[in-house]
């Protein structure tokens, strides 16, 4: 005789547990599926190297060494000489800076048959300059110009008839150069050339060629 077992009826609490598990599994699978879809469909952005935005900008100083040569009446009486200088400036914009430039150079005089030859003479130039920069990654080129004062250490050029006013005079001019960033955020090096007009040395001119190290704070 067959005995029919009574059919087990589903307990409501058990049903609720099963439903919760099913929901979690579906949620998990949806999350994983979403992540996988993102990895596949969107490629990572290419790293910009070097990134000029990471270079320091703002207050900066420069130290420079090089040479100064005179042309015109002063050039006939003063030999080219060694120069050392410094700049302090501020990057107003990425491409625009203002700077103060101080440069000292030492020379020997050329006086031909006159007794004032072979005397040491120092020149000091202080100028306020503006600077425009065009950057190409690690390299940049720049142009700059300004005006200021020139002072001579002695009255020798006055005695030789070159200097119109005693030892101090006006100067104005400009130049340009190339800057190479070291990628260490603060430091860069470069070379520059500048040509300045010296009003009180009978409108002589001087060419300044230097190499520099720049530190941006």
């Amino acid at each position: 005789m067959r005995v029919r077992r009574p059919r087990r009826r589903a307990h409501p609490a058990r049903l609720a547990r099963l439903a919760a598990i099913a929901f979690l599994v579906s949620l998990l699978s949806w999350t994983i599926a979403t992540a996988a879809r993102a990895q596949v469909t969107k490629e990572p952005e290419a790293a910009i190297f070097p990134d000029p935005k990471k270079f320091a900008r703002g207050l900066f100083t420069e130290g420079e060494v090089g040479a100064v040569a005179f042309f015109g009446p002063a050039g006939e009486n003063v030999a080219p000489g060694f120069a050392i200088g410094a700049r302090v400036g501020y990057d107003v914009l990425r491409f625009l800076a203002v700077q103060f430039h101080a440069l000292g150079s030492t020379h020997l005089t050329k006086a031909g048959e006159h007794p004032q030859g072979d005397q040491l003479l120092q020149t000091y130039q202080g100028t306020l300059e503006g600077k425009l920069t065009l950057r190409f990654g690690q390299l940049s080129i720049f142009g700059e110009g300004g005006a200021g004062l020139t002072r001579l250490s002695t009255n020798l050029l006055y005695q030789l008839g070159v200097e119109q006013q005693y030892r101090t005079g006006l100067t104005a001019g400009g130049g340009g150069g190339v800057d190479y960033h070291s990628l260490s955020r603060h430091f860069s090096i470069g070379i520059r050339g500048e040509y300045y007009w010296l009003r009180d040395l009978h409108a002589s001119t001087d060419l300044i060629a230097t190499t520099y190290l720049r530190y941006t704070f």
């Binding site: 320091a56 100083t61 130290g63 050392i84 200088g85 410094a86 302090v88 101080a102 440069l103 000292g104 048959e113 006159h114 007794p115 004032q116 030859g117 005397q119 040491l120 120092q122 000091y124 202080g126 002072r151 250490s153 002695t154 009255n155 020798l156 005695q159 603060h186 530190y215 704070f217």
Partner: protein, 270 residues
């Protein structure tokens, strides 16, 4: 990022260096008067002289007080308590050097010499006056003893059209200034003092106080002698350590009144 302290010091040093340099090695040059010294070589006495007198400012109150105090200290130190004035234009504050060019304009070679006399704030030395005084009572031609010379390097022969450029250095001036002070203030025998270098043979300097402050020249007289047609152009280089040269219009000028040195006439020994 804030820069480190050593880096900041380095930056300040770099900025201060040009300003510091402005105060170093700043000689002032004074050209000799024009026209240049020129001799034809045919003169009876082929000698010609021109001069530059340097102008100094007067010491201010504190500087004068310091000079007086130093003078008093030297007087106290001196065994005979003599007046040992400290000069305003002192040799250790004013350093002179003479640069000159001699050119032979003749068609024949000739001999030339360039010598320097001058005055400090107490005494003036003129070799012509000294030679004339020394020659009194003698039948010999006058013997010129310059205060500063480049002997034995000069006199020398100069070829036609040739140029000689020479320097009477600061140490030559220092020697001449010591000699002039010894003659003027301390009664040194002038021939012995002028002929001998004091650092080699300090003859006749016995009366000079031990720590005397030697006066510098305030007037420089350059004499050219030549037996052919020659010119001499010269420039005086002055290093003024303590800004004593007069150059500001408002400053009062220092007006020394040096006494002309005249040697005692030679006495005939029995």
């Amino acid at each position: 990022m804030r820069p480190s302290a050593p880096l900041r010091r380095l930056v300040w040093l770099a900025l201060a260096a040009p300003a510091l340099a402005c105060s170093l090695n700043t000689p002032i040059y004074f050209n000799g008067p024009t026209p240049l010294l020129e001799l034809q070589g045919t003169e009876m006495l082929p000698r010609i002289t021109n001069s530059v007198t340097l102008q100094f400012r007067r010491p201010n109150m504190s500087e004068q007080t310091a000079l007086d105090d130093e003078s008093a200290a030297l007087k106290m130190e001196d065994p005979m308590h003599r007046e040992v004035r400290v000069p305003w234009v002192a040799r250790d504050k004013i350093h002179l050097e003479l640069l000159f060019t001699v050119k032979n304009l003749d068609t024949d070679p000739g001999t030339f010499d360039v010598v320097v006399d001058g005055a400090n704030e107490y005494t003036k030395y003129d070799e012509t006056v000294a030679a004339a005084a020394d020659a009194q009572g003698k039948n010999d031609p006058p013997e010129y003893l310059p205060l500063i010379s480049l002997h034995p390097q000069l006199p020398m022969m100069l070829a036609p059209g040739a140029i000689y450029q020479g320097v009477v250095r600061e140490d030559d001036f220092a020697e001449g200034e010591a000699d002039l002070d010894a003659l003027g203030r301390w009664m040194a025998p002038f021939e012995s003092v002028l002929v001998n270098r004091s650092d080699v043979m300090p003859v006749g300097l016995d009366n000079v106080p031990a720590h005397v402050v030697t006066p510098a020249l305030v007037e420089v007289d350059v004499t050219l002698t030549a037996n052919k047609h020659m010119t001499c152009e010269w420039t005086l280089r002055v290093r003024d350590d303590e800004d004593r040269l007069w150059h500001i219009t408002g400053d009062q000028k220092f007006h020394p009144a040096p006494t002309l040195f005249q040697p005692m006439p030679a006495t005939n020994m029995p």
